[in-house]
């Protein structure tokens, strides 16, 4: 393989990891807790903005840039704050769209939130430099004296570590009793309340954890691409994530990974290598048509996705050989009803 190919592939792997973190976060919202999180992109956006303005220096006098903070903090701190900002954003989003609204109304409220947030950030030039956005975000390990090619491996390693953290959170939640309670909320609010749990608390927990992952993904993305503006997080991006979750299989981490490989990487990134045709932007439109068609096809013919949620099998005590390990539920692949 030529060096250029390796460079390209490692770049794809980085984008895969960054998208995967966000899609696992969305899976916590939508797959596990059943929240119609059509505003998911704003969690990624806030993570990116916060990471950016914390790692950038204050805008220079006389430049046309203006943004808040500009504290030049070291990148790990900025990244962590970006992820935390995603979690904090879950509170207002939850209060507006999750506490009182369900189903279609919740989806509408979420979509409207995403649109308002994007217009607001674009119009308000004082916060994150308005429509032009922020740029020149310092890269992590920027003082390493390595070639551009080798640097890709460094960033890939960083992405892998972040993916591990995300996996630990998503898997920890879904296999614990908390995960079961969230799946219960997804099925019936009233029954969960009748069994002594506050459905809103459970939903907020999922929203918070998923928001954290969204923020982490955004922070990492902005450290990779080094620029972020309202055009990077139009509401359509949320559908990209949703398509990945639905194609891969909601409520299944491996499914989400497969969906990430197919949708944001396969359809969006890899097809950029194809020869462009038509007027400028026509190619992009075809990408969106492909994504929409894929989403519809799966919703119609395979709503549980390629790797459906797994059924947790419990054995009666008499059939177990005994010991702590034996109390673990065996997990079997099965279609949901």
């Amino acid at each position: 393989m030529s060096a250029a190919t390796v460079y390209y592939l490692s770049g794809l792997a980085i984008l895969f990891g960054i998208n995967l973190i966000a899609i696992w976060g969305l899976d916590l919202h939508f797959g596990l807790a059943g929240i119609n999180s059509f505003a998911f992109i704003i969690f990624q956006a806030i993570g990116a903005y916060v990471t950016a303005v914390l790692s950038l220096a204050a805008p220079q006098a006389g430049s046309f840039e203006s943004y808040i903070l500009g504290t030049s903090w070291p990148w790990p701190v900025a990244l962590l704050c970006g992820a935390l900002a995603g979690a904090v954003l879950a509170v207002p989003v939850g209060l507006i769209a999750v506490r009182r609204l369900r189903g279609d109304y919740q989806a509408m409220a979420m979509l409207v939130l995403a649109l308002i947030a994007n217009s607001l950030i674009g119009a308000e030039t004082g916060w994150f430099n308005g429509p032009s956005g922020v740029e020149g975000i310092p890269a992590p390990f920027g003082n390493l004296n390595v070639s551009l090619y080798s640097y890709h491996w460094v960033f890939l390693a960083l992405t892998a570590v972040c993916c591990l953290v995300a996996w630990w959170i998503a898997r920890g939640i879904s296999r614990a009793p908390l995960g079961r309670a969230l799946r219960a909320v997804r099925d019936s609010d009233s029954a969960v309340a009748a069994l002594g749990r506050d459905p809103n608390t459970l939903r907020m927990t999922a929203l918070l954890a998923g928001g954290f992952l969204g923020g982490l993904s955004g922070g990492l993305l902005v450290e990779y691409v080094s620029a972020w503006s309202p055009a990077s997080w139009l509401y359509g991006e949320t559908f990209l994530f949703f398509t990945a979750v639905i194609v891969g299989g909601r409520g299944n981490l491996a499914g989400a990974a497969l969906g990430t490989l197919i949708v944001p990487i396969g359809i969006v990134e890899v097809t950029r290598q194809l020869p462009q045709f038509g007027y400028p932007g026509e190619f992009d439109s075809f990408q969106w048509i492909a994504i929409g068609a894929l989403l519809l096809a799966f919703l119609w013919f395979r709503p549980n996705g390629l790797i459906p949620e797994r059924r947790r099998i419990f054995r009666p005590p008499s059939e177990r050989p005994g010991g702590l390990l034996a109390s673990r539920p065996r997990i079997r692949r099965a279609q949901s009803p």
Partner: protein, 261 residues
């Protein structure tokens, strides 16, 4: 009718005192007062639209009362929300079986166990050791319940794929997993085949003999005859009468309103 609450107050587990509820211009419950004594299966009957389910909803915190009070073990729980009421030990079932369809039967039962620390985010992430033992205990309890109801074969089926009657049983078992002080049953026999209904009835009698208190809305009078004593009759949002079924058959008002010839 508020005198009923006064008389029974000393021995009542649950007191419903002058509950009122409007939905827009419709008065669903005009004035409902009655008591439920410990260890009884108290029936709540009446024609459609009498307000029985609304009363159950108000007791369980699903619907707010416009006026009136609900007291449980002498404590005012009128303003409790649904999850707070169930934390006090009142577990309800629903008119249409309300199971978690994409959870297995065992998982449904595990959700019945009182909310516990395995459902906290921090414990879920860091301390597997502190919930796995409790989880194993709960699984054991769930299987022994399944055995009692002869449903072990369905343990790992998705609850959504069960028949209507089986869903009811799952709902009752799930309620029992919570070790409630009192059960609110909203038409537990509706849509259940006669054999299964009989087995539900037997379980309910068994539970009553073990000291469980129940308030049960039921339309089929043969089950009310068999299970409930005393029985509260509601009509047009008010409590019309209260007593054993024999007494109610003597009561002309009740016969006219509901029981018929």
């Amino acid at each position: 009718m508020s005198s009923a609450a006064g008389v029974g107050a000393a021995t009542a587990l649950l007191e419903v005192d002058g509950l009122v509820r409007h939905f827009g211009g419709v008065q669903a419950v005009a004035d409902a007062s009655f008591v439920v004594k410990p260890g009884t299966i108290t029936g709540l009957i009446g024609p459609n639209g009498a307000g029985k389910s609304t009363v159950i909803d108000m007791i369980s915190g699903r619907t707010r009362a416009d006026r009136g009070a609900v007291r449980f073990e002498g404590r005012d729980i009128t303003d409790h929300r649904a999850h707070q009421v169930s934390q006090r030990g009142i577990i309800r079932t629903f008119q249409t079986a309300n199971v978690f369809g994409r959870l297995t039967v065992v998982e449904n039962l595990l959700m019945g166990a009182t909310a516990w620390h395995g459902e906290r985010l921090s414990r879920a992430l860091w301390r597997r050791s502190c919930w796995s033992a409790t989880e194993a205990e709960l699984v054991e309890r769930a299987f022994s319940l399944l055995q009692r109801f002869s449903l072990e074969k369905l343990a790992n089926e998705y609850a959504g794929s069960l028949s209507g009657g089986q869903k009811r049983l799952v709902e009752v078992m799930r309620a029992l997993m919570a070790e409630p002080k009192m059960l609110l049953l909203d038409e537990p026999m509706a849509g259940v085949n006669p054999t299964l209904a009989l087995s539900i009835a037997e379980r309910l009698i068994e539970l009553r003999d073990q000291g469980m208190t129940m308030l049960m809305v039921e339309h089929e009078l043969r089950w009310v005859d068999k299970l409930c004593d005393p029985v509260v009759v509601m009509a047009r949002g008010r409590v019309l009468a209260e007593g054993s079924m024999e007494e109610l058959h003597e009561n002309q008002q009740v016969v006219d309103a509901y029981l018929g010839g």
